[in-house]
């Protein structure tokens, strides 16, 4: 509880900072998001393709951020951070994925679509 005799600035987590990485991250993610924006406002692709492509873009952007911003790597200082995140990833997928699956089926089985509400289907 008293590690104060070490210089805190020499701690590996301080030394992780990399100006070049942060700038690269800024450029890449801003451009990726810009590309997604361009796709959606110009309606350049079909809706389903848009969903797929933008999801892909988001995945790439988050990957870049995880590596360059959050410094997810296997170095000794960061390994437990990375392990913890890898542990959570499947749980995010499970929570969202299984929920979506269940409710997709439930809507089909229990909802009576009246014409009144159906009118919004393709708006």
């Amino acid at each position: 509880m008293s590690a104060s005799h070490h210089d805190p600035l020499s701690h590996p987590e301080v030394q992780l900072a990399s100006g070049r990485g942060y700038v690269a991250n800024f450029l890449v993610t801003t451009l990726l998001m810009g590309f997604g924006l361009w796709l959606s406002v110009t309606h350049a692709v079909a809706p389903l393709t848009l969903v797929a492509v933008t999801s892909g873009i988001a995945a790439v952007a988050v990957g870049v951020q995880a590596y360059l911003l959050l410094h997810m790597n296997l170095s000794e200082a960061q390994i437990w951070h990375t392990v913890a995140m890898i542990l959570f990833l499947p749980l995010f997928v499970v929570t969202i994925g299984l929920t979506a699956w269940m409710f997709h089926g439930l809507y089909a089985r229990t909802m009576i679509m009246s014409p009144h509400i159906g009118a919004f289907l393709h708006r």
Binding site: R109, T110, M111, S114, I117
Partner: protein, 321 residues
């Protein structure tokens, strides 16, 4: 599944034991184990298999545990080997037995789920090809009564379900306010009855008789009195019921239903029959709820309910029920 059959027979026998114990009379009250419908029969069939297979594992395990404790108790006969802590062969068996059991049970479970799928029970299609056109019944759960609408007959009945035997019944169910759970222990399993949604259930009664039905999910103060009677009758008797309802009962319109659905604790029963039910009432109720229609629970059925209950008590004592 020869083993399954044997196990089943044996288990049927063991059901008797607790019955003998507790009240010795012919009717033990263990409703779930006395199925009188096609679906409940099937469910009990799989239940028996499941329990049998599990007991094949659990009983020897329990005996093993008792044996180990007895033999290796301090001062017992077992040889003390403090350093023994691993055996690959035992580990294999220890993982293997549960794995195989779960595999078998999973197979059975999936088979049962499809056979008893409330929307389309395959067991019904397989065994009831020539049973004729199914009877449609729309069920609406209110706070705290059950309304059974017979859409083709344009009649409805409150807290009393009358159905012909051997003919498939197709239910559509919804609720006006909160989630209920539709259950007739001897005939059909539970299904959630949800407001703003429509679920389906199917049922075939094998024996004429009088069966109890319950609301299983908690729905508020009137839950305990939200039970209903199911009368499984012959075709002729069912026709008489329909005719009697048509001639005597009052009508039920969409606006009339709005009044009917107000919270009411059905102490002492709430039987009622409606002769002319507006067409499409079920769909109307579902849509109304989806649009946000709410039948609020007044404070005197929650916080201040002592007075309400006292009043009901007085009415009960006065013989009004």
């Amino acid at each position: 599944m020869v083993i399954g059959q044997t196990v089943k027979k044996w288990l049927r026998f063991t059901y008797g034991i607790p019955m003998l114990f507790l009240n010795g009379c012919a009717h033990s009250g263990l409703l779930l184990l006395e199925p009188r419908g096609l679906l409940s029969d099937t469910a009990v069939h799989y239940f028996t298999l499941d329990v049998g297979i599990m007991l094949l594992i659990i009983v020897p395990t329990a005996l093993l545990a008792i044996w180990a404790m007895w033999r290796y108790r301090r001062g017992g006969r077992g040889a003390y080997r403090p350093d023994w802590s691993h055996s690959g062969r035992i580990e294999l068996v220890v993982w293997g037995i549960p794995l195989v059991t779960v595999a078998v049970l999973s197979y059975l479970s999936i088979k049962a789920i499809y056979e008893l799928n409330p929307y389309n029970p395959t067991i019904l299609a397989r065994t009831h090809k020539a049973a004729g056109r199914p009877l449609r019944v729309d069920v609406i759960a209110t706070d705290w009564r059950w309304l059974f609408i017979y859409p083709r007959q344009h009649i409805a009945s409150v807290n009393e379900l009358v159905v012909p035997v051997h003919r498939p019944i197709r239910f559509r169910l919804t609720s006006t306010s909160v989630v209920n759970d539709f259950l007739i222990p001897q005939l059909v399993g539970m299904i959630d009855v949800m407001p703003g949604m429509r679920v389906k259930e199917a049922m075939v009664v094998n024996k004429p008789g009088h069966y109890l039905g319950f609301s299983a999910d908690y729905s508020g103060a009137g839950l305990s009195w939200m039970h209903f009677d199911t009368h499984a009758v012959s075709v002729a008797q069912f026709r008489r019921f329909v005719a009697a309802a048509r001639s005597s009962g009052r009508g039920l319109t969409d606006t009339g239903f709005n009044r009917f659905a107000r919270p009411f604790i059905a102490v002492g029963g709430a039987r009622q029959v409606f002769g002319r039910v507006q067409q499409g009432l079920f769909g109307h109720v579902v849509r109304e709820v989806m649009r946000g229609k709410v039948w609020r629970t007044p404070m005197d059925m929650t916080e201040n309910m002592v007075r309400y209950m006292k009043q009901q008590r007085a009415e009960q004592n006065a013989g009004e029920y």
